[in-house]
Symmetry: C2
Subunit: 524 residues, 2 copies
């Protein structure tokens, strides 16, 4: 095996170095998308991969997958030569079986990597290959902070999380539903969410998937920012299509997928699996099912618009066999992710998985152990897009600003680890070893002085002070220190907020007002 | 790249399965030494490895390494053809320079792997190859528990930690100085420590290295347990020889190394490096220096007794460039460990590094993040012996029973992750996918029922209950739950304590009484 992780690369971009020189940051610090120099960890042999692929074909051909409440998609599949068996006496719900190899062949038109554009071109991200993009937590209805404890999330919390993501160098992507703003009617909150991302951040964004027309609203808002022609030819949103595992696509998800694919926008097609509930308890079984599920969604998007960008996704959790509760940061999902990453690579597709997953109620040791048992194997496996990379608590029920800044600090370290070893002359440091010699120390040697500022990652939250100093400073654990940190970041945000063209802002606001005015409030 | 991590292997040994059947354990649960099915992560190319090796040769040949206060070793090196330059006007302190390739050639007689015997043969461990042995924290003078906070450690604490290690399935080794029993005089405490390991546990042990005669006491006590002839032909102790980095071996460590090597007992020859203090700030520089240092100690042991067992070690930490404090669980040491593991593999030697390293004062999120950023890359790198694998806090100043049980829980998960994916017919679970089909659930299917007990690792400490249930149970974080757990384990210990032959026990006690009586108390 040859490994080539030896290129010394700058850890921060120029903006940051300029900021370090002048003392006061004039713009946010931003790490470039992670470029994985370490070799991807492979756990399945060629034979193992072929076996899983064969099982997935059997699932597609013999068992089939369901589409529920989507007559358009069923007709499309029928036209394309799939076997359609209507079920439950409905004309919009059917079991679809696919001729051998059909789905895999359809998937071949998808790009192996693509650029998602941000409204600030400096924040564009490449998704695929050896790149990994980190995006924040997605979906929790609750919000926990050190000050207030746990409560339902609001749009104000949503804005806080968008701002913290914007301010976090290791988060490359603004994400999507960083929490559910439950103070806004369900049928209208997507406007506020998309607007918050577009206005408060200039990083790439995710769109709404809770109804096809909300997906269309997302695309329409993006057109106001990027221009309609640009949106038709370029990816400006990535959205999360969860498969209704096992083996089912419902009309909402399939409908949103259709809107995005037809508009040339990226979807993460993601089997959502708690092993033992939505898939078998064994990783080998999960992989075959998830591969079949992902192929069907990806193939559907490619059928509608060949070449449109897509990400092969897998969300995997395990389960407490004592209580049935989902568990996170456990070894079995790590194995699933590593295997699925290999299967995605064999299809030449970008892969999404992992994240700061954990079942802990608070950002304690459990939260951190589980988060790292999820993030590190996922990065090692070679994920290209990591949703939930920061801020997740309590099995995804809770978003936490403290957890977000804690995780983001670790993600910055992952950048350095994946950067590999600098073996330049400076990296070899033979001058230092000659200068210091046996029995000396390196604290003041020339090499140390030359590399003083960039030698080690300086954690924003870890406390390495003496016990006595730590006591004097209030014996704070990391949860408390993270509370102090995120509130300082929010205070600093206003001076660093990304400017938005007033005309664009006005166009977005008018669009939202008009659309919101066209519908009554609804709670679904 | 071919990966072969697909063998379904039993997760627990027979004792455990018997215990599960009968309900009440009649003996402790013990995991077999970790067998790493995943491919080792390589970060250096052939060219990179050759460059580091060349730099290490330059260090050995041109810069040289010091021996201080060890006239015997200096004479040995001189006889062997090394260049000796006495320094500081002393006849027992010298700079030694080695002809090119001399050290590497001497190291060739060391075994690539070896068995360390425990007094219970079922607990013997293999050290080397694809095996990884986990041993507890080593060295802290302080002890922190949830109940008592932080204070100096005592022999009673030492015994608690030995018992908890014995009771922890994922800890294969009883370790050595699990804490410093500061209530016992320095020159006598090694008797109590070695006796505690031999009496309270039946797992393999580490010996004393704080003086050559204390190493000899360790060997003599082992002879009482295993028999003198057996000890001469088999490894029954592994002891930690820290290099006095940079590039110096002192008479104490070198003298203890001599005792163990001459008695055919294993040493971990381990450069102790806080980058920026004892070695350059750059990983590439650390690697060359540490390779030179390790080679000298390993070669010395092989010169004294060719073929005696030895472990190539590296302890690596980074440093806060703001305060000079050592930092742990950071990315730079992870890179050093991955590179050093490759260098050790090229020498066909077992490798030691990693551990539950962290700088946190309490077992909070910081402790857990840093621990995992140390343990996971180290296991991935292919370490064969992980000292400090559980129980470490505050940069190694503090041993913690809560942290020990928390870490041990994670180490059990590492076993499963490294076990790879079961692709047997049962692992593939196609029967389950056929049975459940689209839209169903797997909770009660036949496959789930068949695999109910072994499907997922059930954490001993993670809480996956609902928020409401967790609140009802007292809103305990993991630190608090770990406190409850280790005290229950101590309560259960007596019924599971390993029996010891009364004659052997009496011989050990007599030996200790006689030796202690022969010397006054001393505080160094």
């Amino acid at each position: 095996m040859t490994a080539a992780a030896e290129t010394g690369r700058g850890r921060r971009n120029r903006t940051d170095r300029r900021a370090q020189r002048t003392g006061a940051p004039s713009s946010i610090e931003q790490l470039a998308v992670l470029d994985r120099n370490l070799a991807d960890v492979n756990i399945l042999s060629e034979e193992g991969l072929a076996l899983i692929e064969e099982n997935a074909e059997i699932i597609c051909q013999e068992i089939g997958l369901n589409i529920s409440e989507d007559a358009f998609a069923i007709q499309k599949w029928q036209e394309h030569g799939a076997d359609v068996e209507f079920v439950d006496g409905k004309d919009d719900t059917a079991r679809i079986r696919f001729p051998r190899g059909m789905l895999r062949t359809l998937c071949k038109t998808a790009p192996s990597s693509f650029i998602q554009h941000a409204r600030n071109p400096a924040r564009n991200v490449e998704i695929g290959g050896k790149k990994t993009v980190f995006a924040p937590v997605y979906g929790p209805p609750f919000y926990r902070s050190y000050d207030e404890g746990r409560r339902y999330a609001t749009l104000a919390d949503f804005e806080t999380l968008v701002k913290l993501t914007y301010m976090s160098p290791a988060l490359h992507h603004s994400g999507g539903t960083v929490c559910e703003p439950v103070d806004i009617p369900v049928n209208k909150r997507h406007f506020d969410m998309v607007y918050s991302h577009l206005k408060l951040s200039d990083k790439p964004i995710m769109g709404s998937v809770t109804a096809p027309e909300r997906a269309q609203d997302t695309v329409d808002m993006c057109k106001l920012v990027f221009g309609a022609d640009f949106v038709d030819q370029n990816c400006v949103t990535t959205s999360l299509i969860n498969v209704n595992s096992p083996l089912t696509y419902d009309g909402i998800m399939n409908g949103a997928l259709r809107v995005y694919a037809e508009n040339n926008q990226a979807c993460i097609v993601s089997p959502f699996i708690i092993s033992g509930a939505m898939a078998p308890v064994s990783p080998g079984g999960v992989m075959a099912q998830a591969l079949a599920e992902a192929m069907m969604g990806i193939a559907y998007g490619q059928m509608l618009r060949p070449g449109s960008p897509v990400i092969f996704g897998t969300f995997a959790a395990s389960m407490s066999m004592a209580s049935g509760a989902p568990t996170f940061g456990t070894p079995e999902p790590a194995l699933i992710i590593m295997g699925m990453a290999q299967l995605a690579r064999r299809m030449n597709l970008p892969f999404r998985s992992g994240g700061s997953l954990n079942a802990s109620k608070v950002p304690d040791a459990q939260a951190a152990y589980e988060t790292m048992m999820s993030i590190l194997p996922s990065v090692g496996a070679g994920v290209n897009f990591m949703l939930h990379a920061a801020g997740w608590l309590e099995g995804g029920l809770v978003s936490s600003p403290e957890k977000l800044v804690m995780d983001a600090d670790q993600l910055a370290m992952v950048h350095i680890m994946q950067g590999g070893v600098d073996l330049s002359e400076n990296g070899q440091a033979m001058d230092a070893i000659r200068e210091v010699g046996p029995g000396g120390h390196y604290l003041g040697c020339d090499h140390t002085n030359r590399n003083f500022k960039t030698a080690f990652y300086e954690s924003k939250l870890a406390n390495s002070a003496s016990f006595e100093q730590w006591e004097i400073e209030g014996s704070q654990d990391m949860y408390q220190r993270a509370n102090t940190r995120w509130k300082r970041m929010i205070n600093e945000y206003d001076a660093l907020a990304p400017a938005i063209d007033p005309g664009t802002d006005e166009a977005l606001r008018s669009f939202i007002a008009e659309r919101k005015g066209s519908m009554p409030d609804a709670m679904y």
